[in-house]
Symmetry: C2
Subunit: 348 residues, 2 copies
Amino acid sequence: MVNVYLFAVGTASVLAISLTTTVAEDEADLLKRAQELFEPLPKEMATPEFPITRERADLGRQLFFDPRMTVDANMSCASCHQPALYGTDALPTSIGVKGRPHPRNAPTNLNAALNIIHWRGDRESVEDQVIKALVSPITSGQPDLKAVEDRLGRIPGYASLFKAAFADEANPMTAQNIAKAIGAYERTLVTPSPFDSYLKGKSDALSATGRAGLKKFINTGCVMCHSGVGVGGGMYQKFGVVEDYWLATGSTTIDKGRFDVTKDPTDLYVFRVPSLRNVAMTAPYFHDGSVPTLPEAVKVMARVQLGVTLSDTDVREIVAFLESLTGDLPSNFTTVPTLPSGSIVPKQ
Amino acid sequence: MVNVYLFAVGTASVLAISLTTTVAEDEADLLKRAQELFEPLPKEMATPEFPITRERADLGRQLFFDPRMTVDANMSCASCHQPALYGTDALPTSIGVKGRPHPRNAPTNLNAALNIIHWRGDRESVEDQVIKALVSPITSGQPDLKAVEDRLGRIPGYASLFKAAFADEANPMTAQNIAKAIGAYERTLVTPSPFDSYLKGKSDALSATGRAGLKKFINTGCVMCHSGVGVGGGMYQKFGVVEDYWLATGSTTIDKGRFDVTKDPTDLYVFRVPSLRNVAMTAPYFHDGSVPTLPEAVKVMARVQLGVTLSDTDVREIVAFLESLTGDLPSNFTTVPTLPSGSIVPKQ
């Protein structure tokens, strides 16, 4: 449902672009254009289907940081979505349990519930992502959801936390509830940034360079895909519209993207457009992390998506705008909970 | 130097035991005995050789949480010393880089600078531990210290942090300074507990059960080794005085302990006595994590060290005392820093 909403914003943005041919001429005009194209972050990302309660989000926070659900009890959600690295692992592509390589870059989990989930959009929601991660051979290594539930059942402190979070259920310690709880937690992870203040009318929340970059971001056409509340995240797009992406990124593996999910030839090399929120803090870039720095990533995008060669000044200004998307980290992400104690691994 | 000091405390404790044969008879007597045997935690653990400055501890905190120094850039100090698990990984024995097994249990890094470092005492200080960890094939996988320095040199944000922490050095980004900084950070990680309040004279900081447990802890003889500021941590002792330890723990691998370090036959099966601070939160137990619960660990210790069979009531009371050693986690441990951004792994 959120996705549908974001698609609508995406479409509206494209319309806005089509209908407005004039370049933003002054600060007031720029702000007005920005307000048409983007919107500030909500306070949290609950939906009617996925409500947030304090108890669920608190439980979900514990589970997010708990390594004891995965096969060797040594990796948690926070292993690839580290608070110290803005919800990423700073790797081109992640390393899972038993050293198994993940095929794609771990996107930040911050604000994730606003976006299409995963690079190929093969997750319905953050909750669906959790359920699938719990039995993925790469992120979990557990044979089935029952094995995950059994693990938690062996840590005494969790029973009361599940009971509190799912009070009307007789046996609340289920994988579905693990997903709901972690989902509820993730739906609280919103990072309001200077750009949100700007969108609310505080023009000097962006530096003059940042505002110049915003203007170029709009007028160069970046905003055709990177619009809405996520500044991206709401639509699919072929990576490499003008030119094959790997010619610019130097990727050594060619990922067919969403085609491998849908088998639809029009989905060849199609990925979800990533949200650019916190992009300055989430290097390296693209689905395969093939580009290590933001200025380089901006150049690659202009080249392969728009056929535009940006000057160094253009890049510097656009990067200054993108830096204004770096938000405040929520304290329930940077502050780690204390987990119920207990070692669940059998005696050696 | 700290160790020497602690050895002195250890020796004093044993003397105190020898000179006092009467059982603690009332609450005032119990407190007095406890004050002779233990001491409250200091505010921090600086020494003249290893001072703490704000800049060094802040830098050390960043480095502690940064996975980019290790060979695959996916493990940090915090991977095995997790804030959510009281500075442990809750595993019997840790899993290092590339899935490499560590031979021993990861002790908590909380209050660590007060103790003999590592199970076999083969580290001089927390700083020495860091230097050796930076090139350990298990915890780092890097070939040499130069490789670690090179990694940090590729993350732009670190240069100014090293400059601030080591202002009088021309080229401060060295492995020795990494160790000094992480050491300075670790020397701030002190966890004052209800037992510290008790030692300062607040008798009701321990429950009646906890005080009964303390009395049994003293009078059973646990305190012969577990004394001083760390309630242990200050001396070596053979594990299995009365009976081979593995008969009680069920360990399948027999670790020769300090013998493998010194080759001295009197060091066979000798380990450092672990500090019991936060022991209720740091399961599983012993050098090989072979015992998953605290009550079981207490029984094993009484049996193999003292030849004593504890009743269930004894165990319950001693565990209640040990729970009073669970301290408050320092906010600079539970709150994760934001790291300088940058992906240091070469393009795929």
